[in-house]
Symmetry: C2
């Protein structure tokens, strides 16, 4: 299996060298051919997906995972549309990031170039297969796709069609390759193919991400785990605070930018707690609260440190009253996964202190945590949300799938 | 030891939270106090260094390592001057990297913020201690300095003074901490303190860097190994090619941006090889050449694949004649460490093809490989040269010691 993964990576490197020199128009032509192929072969993709879904049901896999695994004609059309949208986005490759003429006359330019070969290790959702392939291709990269075994047939069908589309426009099919998922070791070999693979991106549950981070020798961008906080400041508009808390918690609970924790300044606790408890409970949320919350409702469960560290991804929220904004900041620093925190306040000073004091990828001032998203940010495409500080932080689009190189032009300059 | 390293990292996190909110003027005041302290205590630093040097001589350590270890009053003054220069540089923290108003009215800003806690694992040179501390501080980071045991006394003396200087201006001394070098495991604990340390930068020989890359669970920026190439194209000005080859190889051999390999297009081999062989041999360079080189001088040693993969850091160079620019590009891709490659050519097309075709941090067009350097690039300070693609590539200055965060301001926006 190691040999097989390394051989795939070597072929990907050859393809990447071609892609690095491929102009935007040719890449866009390929993306449109990919979108057309997905649409034209919808029936085959759905047939393969139906087999995956049937196998998952036989294996008694949880219904929410089956839901993420399942494709319909509408989802395939949406995937194709997404691929077409990526063709319409500007090409990040070639962008001059900085440039100057040095005192000795050397002309210095730092320009964006493709990363090279990117390994994706991900769970269930077959739409990630096409999305990741399209984003990587647009940014001039070859991609090695290692999905989950439960989606193996769907992924294989999609990848076969994408490869055919590349060939049809004269680009190397090996720019998009499938790493077999029937052997767990294939993921390990992919994440340890240092020198052959330039970057690994894990997408999935906390367990998957932890494994990749700990075992990879290839540089990794950690994505996704979101233990997000909403802090209601002493100077908050409480109607706004209620809307933002409810939206952040309940708009969609299974996503990384959903709120998992609520902090309320003591100055507004008397006025705010009864309202927020009622509003959350009305929507079926279990509040894991401190003494102040418990005192107001028998349905509030006592909060534990484990609660404070938990990304519920469900109708649960931990909740505390804090004595100051600094206590809120310290609580966030101690328990957050560094994804997104929101503050509701009318105070400019408080908003600035919170934004600079917490240490997270995104801070929402008077807005729902749910806005941390490549689509919402206007990136046009998103390959994941980075919760690490190196290279990319927050939603990652095409730009984050590139690196840079310095081109220095002289006239025989020596030192 | 693990406890000790983790405790230091926790104290560093507390200090980092303060530094993140410290304005530039206070950081610059600290840097000037640090420079003053180094100058005022030169005698103590030199006394500590003399003990390190004596111990190294007793242990029969190689003379070139002792040279890198040794400080004199001049070197200490230069270190202090470098610290003062960093105070004069712009603060990267707070820079708005991108910003826009989204269609829904949300105001999006991506701004530079400190990385947090940076671990440096490095060999011999005590000047790295002060340089790294100053660069990290200016960018708002706390730093954990794990130097080599051979420089332990020098590093301890320098770090004590820097910490006193921080205290004297009211900043937390724990922003600069020494990780003991008397136990090899301290480096391991530092590189595996994931969640406590945000970034590890190894600086030193290939062995050190390989160990850190393989064993670290904290994100790493790989630095330094430079197997740099000079390619003399068919359209090269041969006088210029000779100057650039000799300068790249011999100006300073022990540095990562020195050339280690020469590629010459066959079209100019007859005219160029005799000249370059004579010029290099005159300067004491051993040429490890292919048949074309061997045919012209008995002193040319047959080149091996190992030679092509070697960073000599000495008066040695591997040398080949190639049939085309693409053969040169493929040779570079196969053997380079991705640091710096130079092309000498009068052809615009050739310069572009080479620059986009190789896959390295820097490409010099008609200039010596020796120009890949933070100082030469005008960065004012350099903490190392990254040869990886993630986060930073090429010389790293203050900007590369920051990450970014998205600040999104709304007026009660929900989804």
């Amino acid at each position: 299996m190691k040999q097989q993964v390394h051989d795939a990576a070597r072929r990907a490197r050859v393809a990447a060298a071609t892609l690095a020199l491929t102009p935007r128009t040719d890449k866009d032509t390929a993306l449109i051919a990919m979108a057309d192929a997905l649409l034209a072969h919808t029936d085959e993709i759905l047939a393969a997906n139906a087999e995956d879904v049937a196998a998952a049901r036989n294996a008694d896999i949880e219904e929410n995972i089956i839901d993420r695994l399942s494709l319909g004609a509408g989802r395939v059309a949406a995937i194709a549309e997404g691929t077409r949208d990526i063709a319409a986005l500007p090409d990040p490759v070639g962008e001059v990031v900085r440039g100057s003429t040095l005192p000795n006359g050397l002309q210095l330019r730092q320009i964006r170039v493709p990363m090279g070969v990117i390994g994706m290790i991900y769970e269930a959702r077959p739409n990630v297969t096409a999305d990741a392939a399209a984003i990587c291709l647009k940014a001039g990269n070859a991609v090695l796709l290692r999905g989950s075994s439960s989606a193996a047939r769907s992924n294989a069908a999609i990848i076969d069609m994408l490869r055919d589309a590349l060939k049809s426009v004269g680009l190397p099919a090996d720019a998009i390759q499938r790493i077999p998922a029937d052997d767990r070791s294939s993921a390990t070999h992919l994440m340890q193919a240092r020198g052959l693979v330039d970057l690994v991106i894990p997408r999935g549950g906390a367990g998957l991400i932890k494994t990749v981070v700990e075992r990879s020798t290839v540089p990794v961008i950690e994505t996704g785990v979101g233990n997000c906080h909403v802090y209601v400041d002493a100077d908050a508009d409480l109607d706004m605070a209620l809307d933002i808390t409810v939206n952040s918690k309940t708009h969609r609970t299974s996503v990384c930018n959903a709120a998992e924790s609520l902090l309320v300044h003591r100055a507004v606790a008397d006025a705010f707690l009864p309202r927020v408890i009622a509003a959350l409970q009305e929507r079926g949320v279990t509040i894991h609260g401190d003494a102040a919350f418990q005192a107001l409702s028998n349905d509030v469960v006592p909060v534990t440190v484990e609660d404070d560290d938990t990304e519920y991804l469900d109708l649960d929220i931990s909740a505390h009253v804090v004595d100051s904004i600094d206590e809120a900041i310290n609580h966030v620093r101690a328990h957050s996964s560094g994804h997104t925190e929101a503050i509701v306040t009318g105070s400019l000073a408080a908003s600035q202190r919170f934004a600079m004091g917490v240490d997270s990828a995104a801070v929402m001032i008077n807005a729902s945590t749910r806005f941390t998203d490549g689509g919402e940010f206007g990136f046009g495409a998103e390959i994941g949300i980075s919760t690490q500080k190196l290279h990319a932080r927050g939603p990652m689009g095409l730009t984050e799938m590139t690196t840079t190189t310095y081109i220095v032009t002289g006239a025989g300059h020596t030192r």
